[in-house]
Symmetry: C2
Subunit: 394 residues, 2 copies
């Protein structure tokens, strides 16, 4: 017996044409239709995508759904870090209510999986982990949240942080983060050795924030590639932001992309500010993995953001001048399958046997969905309808 | 007697704090409240902005509201130009229905004034002028449209185009356009002399598309500044896109911005693709004029765009890393007062005596309106309500 039957759907698999079909869901998984269906929804030709994966956000920092808070962080990395820490207490951050507000918005927009960095430093300790876990528990069954123990205030330069990161990993946090090993921490080999050492010891994945620009940033990519090869952590290491990548000379970009592919290192773009985005077509052509995240949303770092990953995919595609349908679909693939690969999700996709995590949108073509960012018609997580016409259910 | 009374409004004037007040409208203008009001609308504290000015779009090219048309233009300027001309006939462009669809969307988003470039070349002749005039006539009273006679296919390099541009100006088209005098037409002095000559002869304004990057683009800014000073066309000359500007060294940027200010030349940014946007704070600090436009929308050049100028203002602000409220308001000022200055609008703004062209949005602060891009609560043009909760009336 089928639990949920989605009639007249057009499921999307990257690179393949769409066709009308029915999607049957049984026991939370996509299944072969069998017998009567307990629930039937006619999608009337809507495109069905696997659930969006927000591979990079900061749930602990957000003030989403709270009053407007004018930003006082300025434009330097150091100024933002100081602002972020300095005003946390005044604004009651981290706050599980705000984090839950944002997760709810994400669900309403079709995001089924999230990786959130959590600031860890001697002042806040593991408070952010607790707050975001509480928020994620409230949204249990609607969205899965993976955490990164993130040394936002520095690692080597901030005594006490390394011990707290280790405590977070012991406590089950899945990913260890890093922050500009050169530009901020000033000892790239030292920071990366520490991060990779912790990852090996605790079986954690790695996700390093890398804002450093130009040849400095590119050189750090090489350090990360090198260490990933040396440690056998292929497939478990990600460079977030990678602002330098978009500005490198084409042959240098290609060399880096091939290095990423060979070492099994992924990149995540959030299409932030003025830096050119990571070149989507090159990453695909070379076979290097790329994912998309919303980054900070309505927090002390940035006043922007709405939690809609499809809109972020739109920005990535627009910024990278993707115009042909098959190019635009590469950005959509980064926001879905690319993110799933970075998070190491099993059973992701729309094939028979996959987890029934999906989102339906009205559009002629997948590329049109990226361009027009329509309201989400239906969001299904683990086989249950969790949002309908842009509104979360329950 | 007051025709329309907007109660509990918070009108925005750049740089000034908001306060609750009533806005009275009589005979299409903002007036002192007097006697009873024929119509009263309670805005419940909504922020009221002057109507958005889309200072750069391409109504003749759009397929807005039509079926999804995969883009085949590629990424080079020349490829896009060829694609744009080559597929016009097949797709029935220019098309007054599509142009009217787009104008309607713009009205629903609060745009009250539009400057549209119109492709003019020996194949299409003045067909675009006719089509867009027809569309504008259908939207008469809801939005004002100014046209630019635009040599999209080249000017000196495309025999017959100069004569057609002149014919357009004779026919009442308000602005004469140009296109990369160096990078595309290969004779910068020749093209600019021709454009400035036509502007002087017909009392037209000037708006030059300038995609050329780096020092080549910057050098062309200087040519335009020079000619503007020499011809006494101060206040009537605009450089659109100006991709080079955002990438120049800071002292060079400042020198250019000061030159623009001294000569009365404006710039328009559409926050397109990968090039850094025109630096908003510098332009304001120096006193140079900046406006915002949506550029192409759903056409053979680009599949992107929705006609919402507030969302474009959001992108300009995000891309330029404007974070403090007063910085974000500079982008909003560019999308309103900046555009009004470029179009040379008289009676623009929210002061007593100004034309009653305005838009109301629910937000705590003007900066929040830019960040959250809320549905427009009310749009008034010439004293009449033309859109309500995101939907055009009539």
């Amino acid at each position: 017996m089928t639990d949920l039957l989605l009639r007249n759907a057009r499921p999307w698999t990257p690179g393949e044409p769409l066709a009308i079909t029915d999607i049957a869901i049984t026991n939370g998984r996509i299944a072969t239709p069998a017998g009567d269906a307990a629930q039937v929804i006619d999608l009337d030709g809507a495109i069905v995508l696997p659930g969006f994966v927000d591979a990079h956000c900061h749930l602990d920092k957000t003030m989403f759904g709270g009053p407007w808070t004018p930003n006082t962080g300025g434009r330097t990395l150091e100024g933002r870090i100081r602002n972020g820490e300095g005003r946390r207490e005044e604004l009651g951050l981290p706050n599980p209510d705000y984090a839950a507000n944002l997760l709810s918005a994400m669900v309403s927009h079709g995001t089924t999986h999230v990786r959130s960095h959590i600031d860890i430093d001697p002042e806040v300790g593991l408070g952010g982990v607790e707050a975001v876990r509480e928020a994620a528990a409230r949204l249990a069954g609607k969205v899965d949240v993976e955490l990164v123990a993130f040394p936002q205030g520095g690692l080597l330069t901030r005594p006490g942080t390394a011990e707290l990161l280790e405590a977070a990993l012991k406590d089950g946090v899945e990913v260890i983060g890093g922050l500009d090993p050169a530009g901020f921490d000033r000892d790239p080999a030292g920071q990366l050795d520490l991060v990779f050492g912790l990852a090996e010891r605790y079986g954690a994945k790695i996700d390093v924030h890398l804002h450093d620009q130009g040849l400095l940033g590119a050189w750090e990519y090489e350090l990360i590639i090198q260490r990933t090869k040396a440690t056998g952590l292929a497939g478990r290491v990600t460079i977030s932001h990678a602002y330098a990548m978009g500005g490198l000379e084409p042959d240098h970009q290609r060399r880096i992309a091939e290095g990423l592919r060979d070492a099994g290192v992924a990149m995540i773009t959030c299409a932030v500010g003025g830096a050119p985005v990571i070149p989507v077509r090159l990453m695909d052509e070379v076979g290097a993995r790329l994912a998309v995240g919303n980054d900070g949303i309505r927090d002390l770092w940035t006043p922007y953001g709405d939690g809609d990953l499809l809109r972020k995919v739109n920005q990535v595609a627009f910024r990278d001048r993707l115009v042909a349908d098959e190019e635009i679909e590469l950005a959509l693939a980064a926001g879905t399958h690319g993110g799933a690969s970075v998070l190491g999700l099993e059973g992701y996709g729309l094939a028979i046997g996959c987890n029934a995590d999906l989102v339906a949108v009205d559009a002629d073509a997948p590329a049109e969905a990226v361009v027009s960012v329509p309201q989400r018609k239906l969001v299904v997580k683990g086989g249950n309808v969790v949002a309908h016409n842009g509104t979360i259910i329950g």
